[in-house]
């Protein structure tokens, strides 16, 4: 059983927000593992599915706010891919709430902490990974 959350974090936004959370001493559950990516658009469906295969209970893709992606379309593509991943999970009978795309600005540590906490609550609903 695992309650691990894999959070793919854009290094221009979410990763910085997480650092800021650290600097401000905000607390959030320790079961999240951040993986730094150059843009949410780097994250592919295969990464998300592999994370579940390796025992993640949930996957977050965290990118820049819409309209503020350094790579123009990275965050919107990521959103589409996450939607697609949700379909793929659904097809095999998994709860598609386990994967989510969230937009967090670099200066928004509270939002970052909130989404981790929310995902944690969601895991309580959908169950840990087997």
């Amino acid at each position: 059983m695992s309650n691990k959350i894999i959070a793919f974090c854009c290094e221009h936004s979410a990763y910085l927000a997480a650092d800021l959370a650290g600097k401000q001493g905000l607390h959030y559950p320790e079961n999240v593992r951040l993986i730094r990516v150059p843009c949410a658009g780097r994250v592919d469906v295969t990464h998300i599915l592999k994370a579940f295969e390796k025992g993640a209970a949930a996957v977050l893709v965290v990118g820049c706010e819409e309209g503020a992606c350094q790579h123009s379309t990275g965050n919107t593509r990521a959103k589409e891919r996450v939607n697609y991943s949700q379909t793929l999970l659904q097809e095999i009978g998994m709860d598609n709430r386990r994967v989510e795309m969230v937009n967090v600005a670099p200066g928004a540590p509270h939002k970052f902490v909130r989404i981790i906490k929310e995902m944690n609550e969601k895991i309580k609903e959908v169950g840990e990974a087997k």
Binding site: D19, G22, K23, E30, D44, R77
Partner: protein, 548 residues
Amino acid sequence: METRIGIFICDCGGSIKNIDFSTIKDKIAKIPHVVMVNLASNLCLDEGKEELLSRIKSDNINRVVIAACSPEFKEHIFQQLLEKAGLNGHLLSMANIREQCAWVHEGDVTGKALELIRMAANEALLLEPLEKREFAVKEEVLVVGGGVLGINSALQLSRVGLQTILLEREVDLGGENREFEALWGTDMSSMVKAVEADENIEIITSAEIMEIEGEVGDFSVRIMKGAEEISRSFGAIVFATGHRVEDIAPGLQLKDNANVISQHGFAQMLQASTTEPGPKTVGFVLGFSDGNSRFSTLATLNNALACRQKWDSEVYIFCKNVEVDSEGVENLYRTTRERGVVFVKYGDFPKFSIEKGVVKVEAKDIFAGEEISLTCDLLVTDEILLPAEGTEALSSLLSMKMDARGFHQDENVYFYPVASNRKGIFFVGDCRGNLDPNRALADVSSAVMSAYELLSSGKVVAEVERVKVDPQKCRTCLTCIRVCPHGAIQLVRMSNGDTDGENEVAKISDPACDGCGICAAICPAKAIKFEGYSDKQILAQVEMIGAS
């Protein structure tokens, strides 16, 4: 060669208190390929750096893992250290055990730190060196648009020593805003003379861009001047292609009425007239357009003032808001009031009608609370700022998005103010929807500075093949070319292994690539590898969850 990982753990001067470092040290020493683990207190200070340097050398380390603060702060410093130790700077993997672990968690912080280090170590195993290379750039800039901003750009580029070609679609330089040169604080004819006399500037008029290929430092541009084709290469391109205006004559037919005139038309009239008596009563309307009305406001205030001075007319400005947030406009507004211009602030739009050739305006002044009915000899209408003709075509030529209003440069904060999603391409002033003279001139300076930074050394430095298409695996499906937000991927002919045949495959330009990895994620053949963020390297981290 054997992979030898050295792991350096830092407690950041004691600021990491809730991690049991000795437990960690014992556990990670057992990870395959880890040949040494070092505990330090200040890895980023001189003594720490010394230690790092000497241990890399003494232990023959070829992959370095640093568990400390966020890589966002010190990664580049540590990379330089690796280089100093004779290792490629890219062979470094960092575990963020401070900001994203010790400082945000309670409970089993040591366990998590251990897992983060395992993730970094597992990734380090797969790291490959990345070389940096200098790419020569053309120290020549193309400025598109021969209006006030284009001319300014060319003059400033010349001043910083960059060769410039100034391209204008029309026969003459000058652009659309000749009537308003006072607003720009410039004298167009002397500017045109200056640009014509400048040895660094070549002027091509009556010409249009047909094609732009290549990337930052080396854009090849095909220009048609009549039947003549001009092909040139540029290091950077500055677009100052301007805007067009549409007159908003509220409820009135502008064309059919000699007594209703546009802002530009009125400015021309002011310039042309000499002694004849001007209109006795002049009304201006403002606030009928929803977009950026700064220029409209400025033009109105200027015209109103000029009209007081020249003809001593009675002047009324019907407005919803006066946007005075540009430099000097507050002052101008006060002066206008002081000189007797009457402002009528309306809530609901006024009614306009024409009776016997005279324009009648009925409005309710929401400050005075009274209904005002005014007949004026001349009504000067609001204008709306719209993208210039050809904006869409140019955008598609450059594979760029337009913003919601159809202007260049998108609304993306990362590109603000003048940069674009393609390196080396800049948009200044009204072609990106900004027609506030002071700000537009600031745009010019920004673009000139950026071009200077980019080109003045004659080269750009970029990592070689950080994102790379494997020509053997590429199916030439063009997906990456279609999705690259930076226009950095092109189809090239490449000889296939040891045969003489030539294959067409996708190739990523190192200087133009901005390293987002969108292509690597979307490639259906998995032919694109992003060193540092490759599938394997990402999955190597994923694999480690729960491994401790």
